[in-house]
Amino acid sequence: MTASKIRSGMTRLVPYAFILPPMIYLMVFMFWPLGRQMYMSLTNTRIINPNRGRFIGLGNYQRLFDDPAFYLSLKATLAYAVLAVIFGVALGTISALAIDRPFKGRAIVRAILLFGWAVPNVAASLIWLWMYNDRSGVFNRLTEALGIGRFGWLTSIDLALPSILATTVWQVAPFVMLVVLAALQSVPHEVREAARIDGADGLSTFRAVTLPHIRPAIQLAALLVCVWSIRRFDIIYLLTGGGPVGTTSTLVVKIRQTAFENHELGMASAYGAIGLVLALAVAAIHCTVEQRRMKWMAR
């Protein structure tokens, strides 16, 4: 073998020297645990001895599918994700359209509109908890002043989900706004101007010119908000703890409670496996809609 051949063999290994350390890291701290979780869901592992569960086959899943709490949790997860997407994307897009064109004080307005996104989740939860407070919260003081009495914003079955959604939308709408604003800047100004001169009114200009330009951005924002809603733990856990009677107990909250309050790690892993199926379903949609992003990675 000649020296140059050896060197070209070495050159082929160079990319792996770069990609292996991060990939090994992800294998150890992300993908191996994911696989381990799938296995644990087939065991009766309890928290006293987390590394020594007995294999019990599909026992956990059998219990899961017989448990009304599981369906409640699934319903809460889907309702929370879907509604967060609808309201978050709507409010974010409206905000972006409202501040797209220059006006006096735009920079300050833009900064204030981003507050919800910038405040850390735990701090945001504490503010909203205080605002929803039964006795001294600002919302109940307002409704009382209006003469419609007090509400259990986080404790009544009908209001708990809408209340955590309000907090969630406050947090995600600014991100949607930023994504849509970035896309709006790519709409050629002349095209809009031309449409206006041709006598098109605001709404038809929007539908014919602006919307097609920002549609991919809105789609992407919707997907990200959906993914984040399935992942979100802190806000729901701190505001309602999954209550009242499970109306806000999303899968993620359920995993944590089953594992560390009921001490049933095997059962929690079964909830996790269902969560993984849900995440993979969203990822599949993600990959189909976002083929461009996958190509970008591989370019």
């Binding site: 909203w128 994504v179 992942r231 190509k295």
Partner: protein, 277 residues
């Protein structure tokens, strides 16, 4: 026509006004609560205006909260995670940006996967693993768990930046047999400093805000970061609400400042390759 324009303009400003109130009020209320005396919060009713004259009282109240220690732990967690995810993220970003190799598509796919996996899914197995390796209740373990989620985002931001650096710049160094690792550290990384800063801020605040892993893995109060400390106020009534909101405010201000400073870069990182190109 002009009347119609005028109404439209008024409506637009009205809409902007409503949006500003909705978005800004909770943060304003956090400050207003922090600056209210307890007699008002629990008795006569909180006033709607800011009362800056109570700042001194707030500072005394914050003395009862171990806020310094919490923020110090938060700082350790956030900076440790930043260093680790930037190091690994720039290696992965460089490999994806500059080389064609077998398994590239798989790598890209796996990095995307991490973005849809809820943290809670690996909570239980990580807990079991950390018990085995003695990483439970340690800040090191927490950093190792967090970086799995911040590394891919750092990689997306850095890969995007490296793509825009022309190959010719490193070509001569490669011909001179300069090791590729030095090409990365001596030539590429200095050129993309602004994006490194952006990736650093994203990773830093991912660690700063993290709550699920921290609240599960760290049982020892001395290790608590501010997120866990703040959450411990929920359902506990000894700490006055003004001190709670004061702590929340101190914890939020750095995040607000940095998020506003690099908002565009964060969006570019999270949506990399999707909207443009």
């Amino acid at each position: 026509m002009t009347i119609k324009n005028l109404t439209l303009k008024t409506l637009r400003y009205l809409l902007i006004g409503i949006l500003v109130v909705m978005a800004g009020f909770p943060v304003y209320w956090m400050a207003a609560t922090a600056l209210s005396p307890n007699s008002e919060l629990y008795g006569t009713g909180q006033r709607f205006l800011l009362q800056p004259q109570n700042l001194f009282g707030l500072v005394t109240e914050l003395g009862q909260v171990p806020i310094g220690q919490w923020l110090f732990n938060t700082l350790l967690i956030a900076s440790g995670g930043t260093v680790l995810s930037l190091t690994l993220g720039s290696l992965a970003g460089y490999a994806l940006s500059r080389f064609k190799f077998h398994g590239r598509g798989v790598v890209g796919f796996l990095l995307f996967m991490t973005q849809v996996v809820p943290e809670a899914l690996i909570l239980v197995p990580l807990y079991a693993m950390f018990i085995t390796f003695g990483l439970l209740n340690s800040l090191t373990g927490l950093v190792l768990a967090n970086v799995g989620f911040s590394l891919p985002v750092a990689c997306f931001v850095l890969k995007g930046a490296m793509d825009s650096v022309p190959y010719e710049i490193e070509e001569s160094a490669i011909i001179d047999n300069c090791p590729r690792f030095s090409v990365l550290t001596m030539i590429i990384l200095p050129l993309i400093a602004p994006s490194i800063a952006a990736a650093a801020v994203v990773s830093f605040f991912a660690g700063w805000n993290e709550f699920l892993f921290a609240s599960t893995f760290l049982s020892d109060r001395a290790n608590w970061p501010a997120s866990v400390g703040l959450a411990s106020f929920v359902g506990q009534y000894e700490t006055p609400m003004s001190a709670v909101m004061g702590t929340a405010l101190v914890f939020s201000i750095p995040a607000i400042v940095f998020f506003l400073l690099i908002q565009r870069k964060i969006v570019a990182g999270l949506t990399a390759g999707a909207v443009k190109g």
